[in-house]
Each structure stands twice: as structure tokens, then as C-alpha cells.
């Protein structure tokens, strides 16, 4: 429903009113921006000293700073990639177990999923980093981050896949059974491939959450963007500028992933003519606001 349904097509008077309020709003927004910029300029936040190392290739610190940021990017993508792979594998196992579990122990699977869903990701990461060494499992920091992130994201992905399976028409599994396929064969050759396809947009959106959550590695000193930014700030003393650059990098990565998800969703909804209408990517609550 576009907002135009709420009111008639504006006549000359309404158009004039809209124009006036647009101008007023634009002026207010502009004034706020100017005030902020002036204030920052007053504090010397636009000085070459603060921005130079980040944006001027001839600055002596430029190469070192971007080298650090490049390493942070690699660290972030490594952690996100590993988390995605593990979460997909474990999430699929969770989903299949939940779908096929007999009633006698389904509550157990559901219980574990609900429990892990209620745990803040930071705590999961911190838990992995502090408790695993206590029980004698010492790993590189990267793995604590990946384990913490996987604990949370695998159950979310399990729910996405389960919703994908549920969205398929019954005829799919019925046809499989009538051909004499076993339950396992129906799942692995008929239901799961289609569920992944239907849920691809939701899975990509979850990847955005994973990328964002890798930033929590800073609490266990994993050198992703936030930790790296804090290191840069210690020498350059330019927190605002560094965080603006880090935010821009994150927005660039995640905005493109979001657009990719939208594109895939459009393509899928055009391609699917036989099966049921695809569930909307947001059908499962992927904890959209999940994590940081």
C-alpha cells in the first residue's frame, strides 16, 4: 500500500502544502547538518592531521593504516565465512532433526534451539573464549569467535531452513514417497534443495547479521575492524574519522549483500511458477536486529 492510497491525488492546494512542508523540512535538515559540521570544524575534526592518514595516499601513515584495515577486512571475512559454513552445516542438521524427530525427543531439539536463540551473541563468544580454555581446549582466538557466532547463527539458520521446508507444497514429499523413496531420500533429494532455494534471500540476509556480529570479536581481542580501529586511534588520536571509515566499509559490504538478497528474491519469485508462492524472506524472524 503506497501512502497515496491514504489520501486523494493531491490537488493544487495540497501540492502547495506538500511543497511548503518539503522546503521547511529540507531547511531544518540542512540547518542541523550545517550546525553539526560547524561544530566539528570548530573542534578541528576536519583537519588534515585527523583525516590525512585515512584518505590522503601521500600521508606517511596512510599505507600503515590501510594495511591494518586490510588485515581487519581479511579477519572479518574469514570469521564470517567460517561461521556461515559451520552454521549452514549445523543448522541443516538441527532443522532435519527437528523435522524428523519422533515426539519422544523433539522437545529436546526444540529446547536446545530456543535456549540458544535466547543467548546474547556477545555472551556466547565470551563464554567460548573463557570456558573452553578452562576445560583444556585452547584454540586460536579466531575459533572462539567462530564457535560463539555459530552457536547463535546455526539455530537461526535451522529455523530458516525449517520454514523453507514448511513452505513447500505437500505434493512434493507425497510424490517422493509414492515413488518409493525413503524419508531420508525425500528430505535430502527433494525437500532440502528446494528449501535452500526458497530461503536463499533469508540466508543472505542472515549473512549480513553474521558480518555485523564479527565486530564483537573486539571483546576477546580478535583483530577485526573495531579492535583495529581502537589500535589506530591510540596512535593517531582520530576516533571520529576512523569510526566513520569503518562504518562506511560495513555499510558498503552489508548494503550490497542486502541488495543481492533483494535481487535473488525477485528472481526466485519470477522463476517459480509451479510451486507455492515463496514465503517472504522475512517470514522467519531471523532476529533482524540480532547482534551488533
Amino acid at each position: 500500500m503506497s501512502s497515496s492510497v491514504l489520501y486523494d491525488i493531491p490537488g493544487p492546494q495540497a501540492r502547495r502544502r506538500t511543497l511548503i512542508s518539503s522546503l521547511v523540512a529540507a531547511v531544518i535538515v540542512a540547518v542541523v547538518i550545517v550546525l553539526v559540521v560547524l561544530r566539528l570544524a570548530e573542534q578541528g575534526q576536519f583537519s588534515g592531521e585527523k583525516w590525512g592518514p585515512l584518505v590522503n595516499p601521500f600521508d606517511p601513515s596512510f599505507a600503515a593504516v590501510w594495511n591494518l584495515l586490510g588485515q581487519a577486512l581479511v579477519a572479518t571475512l574469514t570469521a564470517a565465512g567460517l561461521t556461515l559454513v559451520f552454521s549452514l552445516v549445523i543448522g541443516t542438521i538441527f532443522a532435519v532433526t527437528r523435522v524428523t524427530a519422533s515426539r519422544s525427543y523433539r522437545w529436546l531439539v526444540v529446547g536446545v534451539i530456543e535456549l540458544l536463540r535466547g543467548v546474547p551473541v556477545v555472551i556466547a563468544i565470551f563464554f567460548a573464549a573463557r570456558v573452553l580454555p578452562e576445560v583444556g581446549i585452547s584454540l586460536p582466538i579466531l575459533w572462539y569467535l567462530v564457535i560463539g557466532l555459530t552457536a547463535y547463527n546455526s539455530v537461526i539458520i535451522a529455523e530458516i531452513i525449517r520454514a523453507g521446508i514448511a513452505s513447500l507444497p505437500r505434493g512434493q514429499s507425497e510424490a517422493g514417497y509414492s515413488l518409493g523413496l525413503t524419508r531420508g531420500q525425500v528430505l535430502s533429494t527433494i525437500l532440502l534443495p528446494q528449501a535452500f532455494r526458497v530461503m536463499l534471500p533469508a540466508l543472505i540476509s542472515q549473512l549480513v547479521v553474521i558480518v555485523k556480529d564479527t565486530s564483537l570479536g573486539f571483546i576477546i581481542s580478535y583483530e577485526e575492524f573495531v579492535r583495529t580501529a581502537n589500535i589506530i586511534i591510540q596512535t593517531l588520536r582520530n576516533p571520529i574519522q576512523t569510526y566513520i571509515i569503518v562504518a562506511i566499509i560495513f555499510i558498503a559490504i552489508n548494503y550490497s549483500l542486502g541488495k543481492l538478497a533483494e535481487y535473488v528474491e525477485r528472481r526466485l519469485s519470477r522463476a517459480r511458477t509451479t510451486a507455492a508462492a515463496p514465503t517472504h524472506a522475512g517470514a522467519v524472524d531471523t532476529g533482524a536486529a540480532g547482534g551488533g
Binding site: 553539526v36 564483537l216 575492524f225 569510526y243 533482524a288 540480532g290
Partner: protein, 216 residues
Amino acid sequence: MGVIVEQFPLYVQGFLQTVRICILAAVGSLILGTILAAFRVSPVPPLRAVGAAWVTVFRNTPLAVVLFAVAFGLPELGINGSYFWFGVAGLTLYTAAFVCEAVRSGINSVSAGQAEAARAMGLTFSQSLSLIVLPQAFRTVVPPLGSVIIAMIKNSAIVGAFGVGGDLFAVGVQLTSAQGYAAAGVLTGVLLGYLILTIPAGIVLARLERKLAVAR
């Protein structure tokens, strides 16, 4: 696990601090998010742009980055405060973007025919919005808003990690790092604190969702 009994008062304090952060940020982000949603459906282009920009920036930036940017940025703008308020502010700004999207999708989910019928009957804009569209939007908005708030409760732990102090997460750090308790016991206590908040909230939400579900 003995630590939970030994340090129970500290846990209670941390729990209350977490609840305090959550209530402040929830109220703030619901108000701010609704205003942003109104911006996004308004016929005024500059306001729509502000809403869209806000959502794009804050949905794609990690909360940790938002928090650090707020803590370093606000003092430069002449806004000073304690880390507690910076933490609450960061969490509010971040969550407002998700509230905005939930509210907006709720308004958009009311089928066009409803508003058209209202207009055909001669109701004015404000009448059709307040009598026809919003009451129906409310039903669809409650479940997604609930999950946003539950996610926010979990995100409040990041505010603690960022250094607000005194909340459940900080209690966990203090007991393991400074007082040398075994992490397994300490963190189980911390986890229980969060689960006390999130699991009942999830159950209430599921109930509400079933109750408010309407066939469309």
C-alpha cells in the same frame, strides 16, 4: 556454580542495571522509530530521505561501531554524559532503525482495499488512518516489534561489553577477570540472567502472535 549463590547480590545488581538499560532504550527507540516510520510514509520527500538514510546507516553498521562512534563523537559536539547514557543512546539510535522498519511494514501490510474503501465512504485522511489502517497495522506490528525488542535485550550485553559497567555482562567480566572465579560458573549465571528476560518474552510474544493473527 557456587559463585552464583556466593555473589547473588552482585548478580541481582547487574540484572537490574541491564533491565534499566533495556527499559530506557526500548522506550526511546519505540518513540524514535515510530517517528522515523512516519517520516518514511509521509508525502514529504526530505523527511522520507531522512528516514531512509537512517535505516540504511544503522541497519548496516554493527552496534559496537555505533556505540564507539557515539561515545567519541557526542563529546566533540559538546554533548557530554556518562558512559551509561552514551550506551543507552547508541542502543536507542540503533534499535530505532529496526523499529522503524517493523512499523512501516505493518502499515504497508494493511491491504490497499481497506484504505480505498474508507476513502470511498468519505472518511478523511486522518479518519481513515486512525479508524481503519492503524488499528489493523497494530496487529501486524506487534510480533515483529516484539522480536526487535527481544533482540535489543540481547544487544544490551554489547552495551555492557563496551564499558557501561554494572550490568550483567560487566558482572561476568568482573567476577572472572578481577576475582578469579571459574568462568563456567560465572557465565552460566550471567546467561541465566539474560534467559530470564528473553525466554518469557519470547513465550508471551508467541501467545500474542497467535491471538492477534488475522487471516488476510
